[in-house]
């Protein structure tokens, strides 16, 4: 009897071809770099990157940088999700509020959020407030818009159920509309998470203070090329970890949504 559960083995088998594909490309890169087919100086050299990765992770800067990036992301993201959901519930459910705020929303939403970095740096400086602000502004809109959509597309039967059982507005919104909209809200939150990571990394790269982005740019400026790639790998793994965690959370929260 195998100690590894069947479900895991099944999933591992499904992933195997894809992983082999990735591994073969890494091998190609390694060979190309070793035999000088690519510009040796600036190209990624997998074995060197792996070695530098080990050093980077073991270095004292690593927990600091990781903590800084994740910290700023977490604060900005959670603020954005809270604000986005609450505002979205209000705007989705209450027509006059929507009419009031929608033009402003439409004006602000299309602004590419990286464009907000220079003004934010001028207004808020280079530290935590600026980083939290940019993550907040970037993460707000997908959550907000998806919440509004989710509220709007709640099954009218469910709304009438709340009505016939005489639930007040507040109870209807939080006990019925919010759970019913959760699939759409979570879809928005997933996009926001990716966007937040991009923006916090970008702000770190531009201000060179703390965090994974700052370390990456630091390595670039000092021509420590393989270090730079190692930090890139760290960022990629962070993104992956965040995505997988989000998936797990989503599965627990909306286990019911495909069953309707």
């Amino acid at each position: 009897m195998s100690a590894v559960p069947a479900a895991f083995r099944h999933r591992a088998a499904a992933l195997a071809p894809g992983l082999a594909f990735i591994a073969s490309w890494i091998a190609v890169l390694e060979v190309a770099a070793r035999y000088g087919w690519m510009n040796r100086i600036f190209s990624p050299f997998p074995s060197a990157i792996a070695a530098r990765l080990a050093d980077v992770v073991a270095s004292p800067e690593f927990p600091q940088a990781l903590g800084a990036t994740v910290g700023m992301l977490a604060v900005g993201y959670l603020l954005a999700c809270t604000a986005g959901v609450l505002l979205g519930l209000g705007m989705g459910y209450h027509r006059p509020t929507y009419a009031l705020l929608e033009p402003t929303l439409e004006l602000l939403r299309p602004i590419p959020k990286p464009a907000l970095l220079p003004p934010l740096i001028l207004l808020l400086g280079l530290g935590a407030p600026m980083k939290i602000a940019i993550v907040f502004l970037g993460a707000l809109f997908p959550v907000l818009i998806n919440t509004i959509q989710g509220v709007r597309t709640v099954d009218p039967v469910l709304v009438d159920v709340a009505r016939t059982f005489r639930q007040g507005t507040l109870k209807t919104v939080f006990r019925m509309i919010l759970p019913a909209s959760l699939p759409m809200i979570l879809a928005g939150m997933r996009v926001s998470l990716g966007l937040g990571l991009i923006l916090v990394t970008l702000s770190e790269m531009l201000t060179g203070s703390q965090g994974l982005g700052a370390q990456l740019v630091d390595a670039q400026r000092a021509f420590r090329v393989q270090d730079m790639y190692a930090w890139t790998v760290v960022l990629a793994l962070l993104g992956l970890a965040l995505a997988l965690s989000f998936d797990a959370l989503e599965r627990r929260l909306i286990f019911w949504s495909s069953r309707r």
């Binding site: 099954d155 039967v157 469910l158 009438d160 159920v161 009505r163 016939t164 059982f165 005489r166 639930q167 007040g168 109870k171 006990r175 019925m176 759970p179 019913a180 959760l182 909306i254 019911w256 949504s257 069953r259 309707r260």
Partner: protein, 257 residues
């Protein structure tokens, strides 16, 4: 018996002022406490719309509805509407038990213990006490409808409004649910208003049958049902009084107007 429900001159028009669609022209109806009344009519005649107006879910364009003398403008206390699409009316993120408690747990401070007991009691009434920890989507159609009924009853209404509740279950389940409804009605003394397109169902279950015309709806005729109670699934359906009323209703419904 006092009139519980008084529907007077209720009409409903939909659509833009330029192109109005008159769903209901004018309906008068009085229902006494404890009565079981069915509303039948051709497809699309506005039966469900009428029921929703009585439930307070839709406003009437003309006329009004009074419940115990008080005007109905929003869903009133003591009235529960049961949806035709029962599957969609159950909250999929809640267990059966929590769905049942959804109808009443928000009301003044019952303790968790009391809420649980009330849920189990009503689930027991519909024979689903063992399924209380399941999710609605794990149950069959008939079971889901029974959960909806349990939820409605747990809210302890005086009036139950059923909108074609059995039209999407299979024939045998339908017969079981008929038995269940009659049993519950007998136990609770509820007033029930049932909208259905199934004439036999109307005759089997109710005290009176209101026949509506094609759209724009009006009351064509109200039939008193002389079929004796208690009603039995096989014997009552063979009773000449059943067959006679059924004959008359079907003839009227199938007549081209």
């Amino acid at each position: 018996m006092a009139d519980l429900l008084d529907v007077q001159g209720v009409g409903k028009t939909f659509g833009a002022p330029a192109e109005p669609v008159v769903a209901i022209r004018s309906v008068d109806l009085r229902v006494a406490q404890g009565e079981f009344v069915s509303i039948v009519g051709p497809s699309g005649c506005g039966k469900s719309t009428l029921l929703q107006i009585i439930a307070g879910l839709l406003p009437a364009s003309t006329g009004d509805v009074h419940l115990e003398g008080r005007a109905v403008v929003a869903p009133p206390e003591g009235v529960v509407y049961l949806f035709q699409q029962y599957s969609r009316s159950l909250l999929p993120w809640l267990t059966v038990e929590r769905n049942v408690s959804f109808g009443f747990s928000h009301l003044n401070g019952a303790s968790a213990r009391e809420v649980e007991e009330r849920c189990i009691h009503h689930l027991d009434m519909v024979g689903l006490a063992d399924f209380r920890k399941r999710y609605p989507w794990e149950l069959s159609g008939g079971m889901q409808q029974r959960v909806a009924i349990a939820r409605a009853l747990a809210a302890q209404p005086r009036v139950l409004l059923l909108d074609e509740p059995f039209s999407s279950v299979d024939a045998l389940t339908r017969l079981e649910l008929h038995g269940l409804i009659l049993e519950l009605w007998g136990k609770t003394g509820l007033t029930i208003l049932l909208v259905t397109h199934d004439v036999e169902e109307a005759v089997y279950l109710s005290d009176r049958i209101v026949l509506l015309t094609r759209r724009p709806a009006q009351v064509a005729e109200v039939f008193a049902n002389a079929l004796p109670r208690p009603r039995r699934p096989v014997e009552s359906r063979e009773d000449p009084r059943f067959l006679g009323l059924r004959h008359e209703l079907l003839t009227r419904l199938l007549k081209p107007e």
